[in-house]
Subunit: 480 residues, 2 copies
C-alpha cells in the first residue's frame, strides 16, 4: 500500500481513507468477502490515530460496503458500485434514525400504536370525546347541506374566509375576544398552531417557559427546534407569574406557553389575579404569551371563565383553540388569533408545510360555529363530561381510596391523579396495557413520576368503572 | 459610573452592559427621554471595543427600551419594567422576522396574495384545475353517500385504513406499483410529504440533488433545514443520471428529488433509459430517490408512462403523489409509498405536526379512488387538459411567434416558455399583474431568467387567448 492520506487537504483524513477503500472495493481490489486491514495495523501504516481508522470503517459500514464483525475484523460485503455484485440499496433504517425532528418518546409512540390498533383497550390516554358526546346530528345536518358545486381548488391558505368570519364571531360571542378574519389562521388543531409558532417565531437557543406538568412538556418539537425550555410549576391556582421575571432576567426567555383554563393535565385554572399579573409581566418585559385554550367552554358549572386573550389590553397574547375537544377532533379544525404580522408569517409557513387546510371540513366547521344549535350541544357536552368525571372520580375513590389523590376539576377532560404508593411507572404502564386499559404516565407530561393522567372524555360511561378497576388492579400488582 | 463588566464571567460583555442599563432604566436612573452615554465615550470608560457598546445598545433597542437616533445618540423610550410608564408589549414584527423556517421568496408571496384576493386575475401561476375539470358530480355523489354516524374522533395518524387500502389498489391498477396499506402514509398533498421527508430523513449539512428548474427549487424548506442542494439540469430527456455519481463522490449526497414524468415546469419526461440508469445508480451508491409524481395519469395520448417506483426492484424510491392535479387540490389528499421504517418515522412526525389528516376528505377520497367512474373522469381530464394546452400553445404562437420558444408537453399542466428578447423578470411580472394576468417567473423555479412558466390547467378555456394576449402585451412593454 503506497497510498497515504494527504493531511494538507480540506477533506478530513478519515474520509480520505474511506474514499480510498470505497474505490478499491468498487474496482474489485477488495472483492466481496475479503477483509480490510486491521484497524491497529492500518493506523500504524498510515501514521494516524486508530480512532481515525474506526471512523473511516464506520463510514464504509454506513454505506453498506462492509460489515464489522466483532473479534474478526472488517469484511467487504459488496463490490458495488459497478453493479455486478450485491446492490447497496439505500439504508432506510439509517435514514429514519437521522433527521431534524426528534421522535416522540417511547411511551407516546406506544400509546399511538395502541390507539391505532383494533384491540378494544379502555382508553384513558387520548384527549378526545366519546362517540356519544359528538354533535353527530348537527354534523350530519351541516354535511348534508353542503353543495360541492362550489370551487374545489385550493382553499385560501390562511383558511376559508367564511370560516374565519365564523370563528371571529364565535370568539366574540362565546369567549369575549375581539378579533377579525384577517387576524385568524385556520390550523390543523392547536397541535399545528404550536408547531408553526415554534418554527416561525423562535430560533435555536431561544428560551421559553412552559408549565410543569403540561402538554407542551410532552412535545419533542420544542427540543427539535433547539429551544431551551424552562419549567413553571403548576400549583392549585396555576403557575406563579412572578417566576417569569427571573427567567427573563437570566435567560431572556422570549415566550411563555400556558393553558390557563382547566389545564391539561392538572385541571387547575389560573386564578384571576394571576392571569392579570401574567399579562402585566408580559407587557412590562415584552414577553409573548401563547395561550392554548381547548377547554374553556367545558365549564361544568356553565359559568364562563375569562381567557387571557379577552383580558389582554396590549396584544401580548397569541390565542390558540380548536373544535377538537368540543365538537370533533377528526375535523382537525383549530385556529390562532393574533397580530396580523404574526398571522401572515405563519400563513406563509403553512403554505410551505401543507398548502392549507382541506376545504370540506372548513365548510362544515363554518356552519357548525354559526349554528344556533351549537349552544345546546355545548350544554349537553358539559353535562356529559361532568357525568364522566363523576363516574371516574367515584371509581377511583372506591377502587383506590386514599391511595389516589386528586383535585376535582371544574372543566376539561383530565384527572391528574397522584398515587401514594411506590411504583415503577413503566411497569404500571405495561401492566395496565396487559390488563386492557391505557393511561398517560406522569413523566410524559412533567417531572412528577408519582402521577398519572386519566382522561375521562373518551371512555363510554359504562366502561369507566370497569376501566378504573383494571387500572387499580394493575397498580396493586406493580406497587411495592 | 463605577461599574465595569466582569470579563471573567461566562455572560458576554455586551450583554452585561445591556443588563446594567436595563436595570438602570428600569429603576428610573435613566428616565424616558434621557440619553445613554455616547458609544465612543462609554467604550473608553469601560475599556471595551466600541462594537461591544453597539451590540449592547442594539439589544436595548430590540427590547424596545431605547431608540437609536442617527447623529444624536441613544435615547431612552421607556422606563419599564416597573410598569409605570409606556408598556413594552411584545415586538411581534421582531418575532415574525426570526424563526427557523425561512419565508417564501417575494414573488411566491405576491402570487399567493393575488390568488387569495378577490380580484379576477387570469391565473397562469397556480398548479391546479379549473372548475370544469373537477369531477364535481362524482365528488358530490361520494359526499352525499357519507353517513357521519361513524366515529368522529381522530383518524389513524398514518391515514384512514380504508383510504390506504384504496390508494394501494389504485397504485396497483393505475400505476403498476405494488404497495400495501401499511407502507402508505396519507399526507396533506405532496407538499407535506416533501416537508416530512426533509424534516425526518435528512439533517443540516446533508447534500441532496434537485432538478434545475423544478418545484423543489422553489421551496425554502430545503434551505431552512440547512441542506445543501446541488442542481441537475433538466434536458429534453430529463436529468442526466451520470451527473449524480460525481455529486455523490464529492459531496456524499443522500437523496435525489425528481419529478420524472411530465416534469414541473419543463413538461419533459425522463427517458426510459435514463429512468433505468437512475435506479441503477441509486442502488449502486445507496442514494435514496424521492419520486414526485403528480402528473403521470394525465398523459395526453392516453398511454401510461412507467413511474420509477414501478421499475424499482430494490426499494430505492419513496413515491409521492396526490389527488391535487387529477381530482381536487382542495381535498389536500396526497400520499407517500415507501419502506415501513420510513413510513413509521414520518407518521410519528405527522402526529407532532398536525395530529393526522382530517377525516371527511379521507372518506371521500377513499370512495373516489374506488369508484368505477374514476377512469371516465381521467379520460375527460386528459382531453380537457390537452385542449387547454393547444389553446395556450396556439395563443403563444399567434401573439409572440418566434419570440416564444417551448416544447409541447405530452402531459401535465405547464408550458415552460423561453422568451427570446431581453427583459427584466421583475418588471415583466409586475407589468403582467397590472395587465390582469399572473404567471410564474423562471427564476422562482430555477437558474434561468429567460423562461416563464405558464400553467394552463386553471384558466377557463375562453380566457386562455385573452390571458396570453395580456401576457404578450406586458412582455412587449417591458422587453428591450
Amino acid at each position: 500500500m503506497d497510498w497515504k492520506p494527504d493531511k494538507s487537504l480540506q477533506i478530513p483524513v478519515y474520509r480520505q481513507i474511506a474514499d480510498y477503500f470505497e474505490t478499491r472495493i468498487g474496482n474489485g481490489e477488495y472483492p466481496s468477502g475479503s477483509s480490510l486491514p486491521s484497524e491497529r495495523g492500518l493506523a500504524a501504516l498510515l501514521d494516524v490515530n486508530r480512532s481515525t481508522i474506526v471512523s473511516a470503517y464506520e463510514q464504509l459500514n454506513a454505506l453498506g460496503l462492509v460489515k464489522r464483525i466483532k473479534g474478526f475484523g472488517t469484511v467487504v460485503t459488496s463490490s458495488a458500485p459497478d453493479g455486478s455484485e450485491a446492490k447497496r440499496i439505500p439504508n432506510w433504517e439509517q435514514y429514519a434514525k437521522g433527521g431534524f425532528l426528534q421522535l416522540n418518546d417511547p411511551i407516546t409512540r406506544r400509546i399511538h400504536k395502541i390507539v391505532g390498533s383494533d384491540k378494544p383497550y379502555i382508553n384513558f390516554a387520548l384527549g378526545e370525546l366519546s362517540a356519544d358526546l359528538f354533535p353527530t346530528a348537527l354534523m350530519q345536518e351541516a354535511h348534508s347541506r353542503l353543495e360541492l358545486s362550489q370551487y374545489l381548488g385550493y382553499e385560501h391558505i390562511q383558511g376559508n374566509p367564511i370560516l374565519r368570519e365564523s370563528i371571529a364571531n364565535h370568539l366574540d360571542t362565546h369567549r369575549s375576544i375581539s378579533s377579525s378574519p384577517s387576524s385568524i389562521l385556520v390550523t390543523s388543531g392547536a397541535q399545528q398552531a404550536i408547531h408553526l409558532i415554534i418554527q416561525c417565531l423562535l430560533k435555536a437557543g431561544d428560551g421559553v417557559a412552559i408549565e410543569d406538568p403540561s402538554y407542551s412538556y410532552s412535545l419533542p418539537i420544542f427540543h427539535s427546534a433547539g429551544l431551551k425550555t424552562f419549567l413553571l410549576p403548576v400549583e392549585n391556582e396555576g403557575i406563579d407569574p412572578e417566576q417569569i421575571i427571573p427567567l427573563y432576567k437570566k435567560h431572556r426567555i422570549k415566550m411563555v406557553f400556558v393553558n390557563p383554563i382547566f389545564h391539561n393535565p392538572t385541571g387547575t385554572t389560573l386564578s384571576y389575579e394571576r392571569r392579570k399579573r401574567l399579562l402585566e409581566i408580559s407587557a412590562n418585559y415584552g414577553i409573548a404569551i401563547v395561550e392554548d385554550d381547548p377547554y374553556s367552554l367545558t365549564s361544568f358549572d356553565q359559568q364562563p371563565v375569562a381567557t387571557l386573550k379577552s383580558m389582554d389590553q396590549n396584544g401580548s397574547v397569541l390565542y390558540l383553540s380548536s373544535l377538537s375537544k368540543i365538537v370533533s377532533s377528526g375535523l382537525r379544525i383549530g385556529w390562532i388569533a393574533g397580530p396580523q404580522s404574526v398571522i401572515q408569517r405563519l400563513t406563509d409557513a403553512k403554505q410551505q408545510m401543507d398548502f392549507g387546510h382541506s376545504n370540506i371540513p372548513q365548510w362544515i366547521a363554518a356552519r357548525l360555529l354559526a349554528s344556533p344549535e351549537l349552544d345546546d350541544h355545548l350544554m349537553r357536552l358539559r353535562v356529559g363530561l361532568s357525568h364522566k368525571l363523576a363516574l371516574t372520580a367515584n371509581a377511583l375513590r372506591s377502587e383506590l381510596g386514599s391511595e389516589a389523590r386528586f383535585l376535582t376539576p371544574q372543566g376539561g377532560i383530565h384527572i391528574w391523579c397522584e398515587l401514594a404508593g411506590t411504583f415503577d411507572e413503566q411497569r404500571l404502564f405495561n401492566a395496565a396495557i396487559d390488563n386492557g386499559v391505557v393511561f398517560t404516565p406522569g413523566s410524559t407530561l412533567g417531572t412528577s413520576k408519582s402521577h398519572v393522567r386519566l382522561t375521562f372524555s373518551k371512555v363510554e360511561d359504562d366502561l369507566i368503572a370497569p376501566g378504573i378497576r383494571k387500572f387499580a388492579e394493575a397498580y396493586r400488582m406493580t406497587c411495592r
